[in-house]
């Protein structure tokens, strides 16, 4: 059975929430921005579990968790409409909450009953003379996609109605998109490192979601020379909107992890922006030197204990591509199964597999699209012979699984080590740790090797 979007009829233990959850996480990561939910009463509470405990125990932040203002659509609103309740909630939110930006996030019930949100937004803006915080509306009905869609939806709303259009562009100023708060559990650490390396080659960098960023930076993002989207999926639709509204082109690439990937990422960016080659190369040499200074500390134990592993990667498209390449090229490991967990349209799958070229020896054989948690094991043993009782059976060992918390039982079942890197991660606490770039990759090496030596 197949629908127009080729979505499977069901997903077992889906590794994402809905657009509303993704939108809540995205708004919550912007400084002093506050989400106002126009949805059934439980949507926020339910999503909070997904974007807090399941995201490396990310806290409620400024106005997250149970503090998020919400209209709480009930039977009354389903029958008679909910716009008046939303208006009331917006007015009272202004009295109680100290916000610099409000984002109305609409869920399933609001969108099915067809509340005229744009009219509410218009009348709010008409009264804006009294110094109210700006308001945008992100459509995030659960049936429209998954949580990554919610990230894109918020960005699109901001690009259309918050970022100030300007014809003037600043040479050497770039915006980074594609790193999704909470859904990439290491988002803030990743963004901090991406900014560091891009500044290292002489650019002015906006990351929007870190402590260092401000809403003024977001508002003024329209004068950038280029948008860099470090994901083939997330933020791409929003970057198209940015281009349409603000005339800024975008460069879509993979999240760079490790010295090799980061160097080629920076070289590509430098080429796009015509940067001084010598300056860029000087930075790369220094970074590479510092990176291997630390990385090579594992050499004695790696050599003595044979740290090479067969590897299973269970990840969304963004992380799957980057982790496969890192494992192959930097750890010298052997990815034998890469399970991509995003729901991917059939016609896009060939292009996704193509992205693994260079990162995997045989992408067509190794990459599968599998959203169901219990089926990862099935997919592995379609590729690796099952134990047959023979004396010289070659086991899938030594092995390691890089995936989410949901894949720990699978790892245990095949006697493999396990590290949670992809969402959901309820078994680790993540603060400023990132896995991108040079410094992030060193963290990844620390965490992977620590998992191997944990019992020593």
């Amino acid at each position: 059975m197949s629908t127009a979007t080729d979505r499977p009829p069901f997903i077992e233990k889906p590794r994402f929430s809905c657009p509303l959850g993704g939108a809540m996480a995205t708004v919550g990561a912007l400084p002093k921005a506050v989400a106002v939910l126009h949805a059934s009463q439980g949507c926020g509470g339910n999503s909070n579990g997904a974007i807090m405990q399941a995201a490396g125990h990310l806290g409620s932040g400024y106005c997250g968790g149970a503090s998020i203002p919400a209209s709480g659509i009930g039977e009354q609103q389903i029958v008679f409409g909910g716009a008046a309740r939303l208006e009331e909630q917006l007015e009272s939110t202004l009295e109680v909450i100290d916000a610099e930006l409000l984002v109305v996030i609409t869920g399933c019930t609001a969108e099915i009953i067809g509340d005229d949100i744009e009219a509410v937004v218009r009348s709010y803006r008409a009264a804006a003379a009294d110094g109210r915080p700006p308001l945008v509306h992100a459509s995030a009905a659960g049936f429209k996609g998954n949580s990554y869609f919610g990230y894109d939806s918020v960005l699109q709303a901001l690009f259309r109605d918050y970022v100030v259009p300007t014809k003037e562009k600043k040479k050497g100023k770039i915006n980074i998109w594609g790193v999704t708060p909470a859904l990439d559990v290491f988002w803030e650490g990743n963004l901090i490192e991406l900014r560091r390396v891009l500044e290292g080659i002489g650019l002015t960098v906006n990351t929007f979601f870190t402590k260092q960023d401000t809403l003024a930076d977001l508002r003024g993002a329209g004068d950038a020379e280029l948008n860099i989207v470090v994901s083939p999926v997330n933020g791409v639709a929003a970057a198209e909107v940015f281009k349409e509204v603000h005339g800024v082109d975008h460069f879509i690439t993979d999240l760079p992890i490790g010295a090799k990937a980061t160097a080629s990422f920076l070289r590509e960016v430098a080429k796009r922006l015509d940067l001084d080659n010598d300056e860029v190369e000087a930075f790369l040499v220094a970074e590479k030197d510092a990176y291997y200074h630390f990385f090579n500390r594992i050499s004695d134990s790696y050599a003595d204990l044979d740290f090479q592993r067969y590897l299973v990667i269970v990840a969304d498209t963004t992380y799957a591509v980057s982790l496969a390449s890192f494992a192959t090229h930097e750890l010298g490991w052997l990815p034998k199964l890469v399970a991509v967990t995003d729901p991917t349209d059939l016609e896009e799958r060939a292009a996704v597999v193509e992205r693994f070229t260079g990162g995997l020896a045989d992408p067509k054989e190794t990459v599968v699209f599998e959203a169901d948690t219990s089926q990862i094991s099935t997919r592995l043993f379609e590729r690796w012979p099952k134990p047959d009782g023979s004396k010289y059976y070659q086991p899938f060992s030594p092995a390691f699984v890089i995936g989410s918390r949901l894949d720990r039982e699978f790892a245990e079942s095949i006697g493999a080590g396990h590290l949670s890197v992809t969402y959901p991660i309820s078994n680790r606490c993540v603060l400023n740790r990132g896995y991108a770039g040079y410094r992030g990759a060193l963290h990844l090496v620390e965490d992977v090797i620590s998992a191997l030596v944990v019992n020593r």
Partner: protein
Amino acid sequence: MSYLHLKVPPTRDIRLRPCNAYGGNLENLVCGQKEGCLSNNGRTFAQTTGCQLTLAMGMAASIPNTVVIYHGPVGCGAGSLGLAGQSKMSQQARGNDDAVGRVWMSTNLSEVDIVSGGEKKLEAAILEAERRFRPHAIFIGNTCVPAIIGDDIDNVATRLQDRVNARIIPLHCEGFKTRFVATAYDIVYHGILRYLLGNQHDRKPIIEDEAAQIAYELRRKKTVNLLNVGSMGYVDEVELVRLLNAIGLEANVYPCFTSPEKFVKVKDAALSISICATHDDYFVEHLKEHYGVPYVLNTIPIGTDNVRLWLLDVADFFGIREEALKVIAAEEAELNKALEPLRKSFVGKTAFVSTGEIRAGAQACMLENDLGIKVVGIRAHHYDEFGEIVFENFKDRDDVTINVAANQPFEQVNLLRRLKPDLYLGHGNSNVWAAKQGVPVLPIYGPNNSYLGYKGIFEVASRLERILSNPRWYNTLGETTQLPYKESWYEQDPYLYIRQTTEAA
């Protein structure tokens, strides 16, 4: 009150007419509730809370050898992602070595399904759940979207029942239908009563053995159902079973963490014992009406006063009050000795309590009467007719603020700024807002800790003593974090946004 002929039981809004928004003294709350004039209260400013789906499916998923299917868009049930290991640990604690974590599926409804219906997807999910996991039961949780578009999950369940071994149990727990998430308990119990108990053939022995039958009947007369929904960890079960054993009773524990095929015995018990009317009133009343099993549900055994009341209720039913009083006297003497050295750290301390109504009342009473901590405020998620007994202790106490709210941290921060308690005992999702005001917190329930019975009193006391002995983490958090409220809000009446209305909200 039998509702078992209905596909969908009535919501609490209609059945009990509780209150979910109130601030003031206890007397007005009790009177208002009785007269029914508080049940339509709402808020003109509100913050996000839970829905009955999350609670219902959490309860269903705690039952081993089941698959839960969220029939809806992919985000309904995403809260499970933060709890991947939890139900496995809880099952292992109860000796189930083969425990697997929560198994759930989503029918992942899309925009296309909104138009063309989602029943086909639900069918596919049920059949695949059976094939992959061979469960004893499959719970279907219906969500807002399929309810609005008119998917008939009961029909799907009936249609497929002959094709699968698992008992298919449809649960109508759509979030928008009720303001009271506690309706979830009724929904799951309704499913258990209709589909696990209702359809069990009478268990006629294959070979009649008169002696065995007599022995069973004798045992049955001293066997009780102990209901453990939600707020009870395994350690609490052990403690309550210990107390019941001490007065000569045997207990079977239902419904959480008990495999579906064992439910049939629930009909055979001499008495059902609830620890919380908010959880169980629907179930015990139906068990009584349909299977003649009487019940007690006056209170939760937290604090010596309520443990005594709870145990004597049970003992009186069996006519063994004297035995129970002896057990109580011995237990209280032993406990008091153990509490004595801890009490000095509570002298002059104040506390604020926030959780479900029954637990809130009993815990507050325990703090005052057992530990000597003065309670300055109590928040209950909702208030209904069952609250009166546990709140009895706070009658005519103008020094205790009463607030009825599910989460709504904005009211709480306003109250705490005024009351400045030394301690906060609260429910998940509310605790952090007290912590961010620098107030040390004891979570008011948790699956790995003890709260009930005599052991629970001691453990709560020793945890409070520990927390008070170094509150620096909380103090630092209060100094270094920023709450999202305008300074002007703290000067307002904390109940400013409660709308009192006679019309439905």
